[in-house]
Subunit: 174 residues, 2 copies
């Protein structure tokens, strides 16, 4: 089998932050944990893009490279599961990375329906460079938070687990 698909550069991120505009009334938004998270996410997204400028990568593409790099031979379906995507999304992502020459599909000896995913030599080099810059970007953020960085990260992980658990329950909304 073979795959060919078009290649384009990364789209520009939202240009501006969601930081409060002085004089505007944000009502309930200022009270919500969810909106605080959204503001932080928006700011980090712009910052990530800046830190990886010229490398033609985006957060999901970076995550996919790391996952394939650390788990060579993983199937597309597992990549989808790890990234919370539909399998058609993992397909497109893999297509894009393949077209760039960073990832390659190899036939899986155990199951003729599946691919094994692997980084190419170019993909390994690219990932090393991206990872270096992303680490620097993240460490800069951590430094800005000082000793709160570690507890923030732990609380975010707990929040993610809590919200995901709600999603599986029927919830007690009423």
């Amino acid at each position: 089998m073979s795959r060919i698909r078009s290649s384009k550069t990364v789209a520009e991120p939202p240009g501006a932050s969601l930081l409060p505009v002085p004089g505007l009334d944000y009502g309930v938004l200022d009270e919500l944990l969810g909106y605080a998270l959204r503001r932080a996410q928006a700011a980090l997204y712009v910052d990530f893009h800046r830190a990886t400028e010229g490398l033609d990568v985006s957060p999901p593409r970076f995550a996919a490279l790391v996952l394939v790099g650390r788990n060579p031979g993983m199937r597309q379906g597992l990549l989808a599961q790890a990234m919370g995507l539909h399998r058609s999304g993992a397909l497109r992502l893999t297509d894009w990375l393949t077209t760039r020459g960073w990832v390659e599909r190899q036939d899986d000896a155990d199951d003729a329906r599946s691919w094994g995913l692997f980084l190419t030599a170019a993909g390994k080099r690219k990932l090393a460079e991206i990872e270096r810059r992303v680490r620097a970007h993240d460490e800069r953020l951590m430094r800005g938070l000082g000793d709160r960085a570690a507890s923030l990260k732990a609380d975010l992980e707990r929040l993610a687990a809590t919200a995901a658990a709600n999603n599986n329950d029927d919830g007690d909304k009423r």
Copy 2:
């Protein structure tokens, strides 16, 4: 002047979470504050969608309703600024809300280029219902975090400010 545009329902959110898949090696992703934020955001997004099921709303649409509701007569450009959008994005968002009958444009007496944005009576009712559910959803998350919720929210706000400041600086990446 008048605006007409098509109306569609809210798209489905990503179906699954980004919670760690047992046995997979996430490499640097597990160390990054940015990826922890991404995981939390993904989980909250699904949870938000569940909490507002049937109301035909999304996080940006909700934020726009709140902002217009609290700042009646605000211009589209200001909405764009508050939400970190290009003005063409604020146009589309406003179009959508107008088509739903929740927001209306009125001529601005001070500047013939501008609109003033206002909630309609239906928009006010709709917002009240959405806000009730979003508050309940957010409070459920906060309860899950116990006494750490307040500090988490404060740290997220500080993170957003820090990252946004980096984006304006030249940064010290090298």
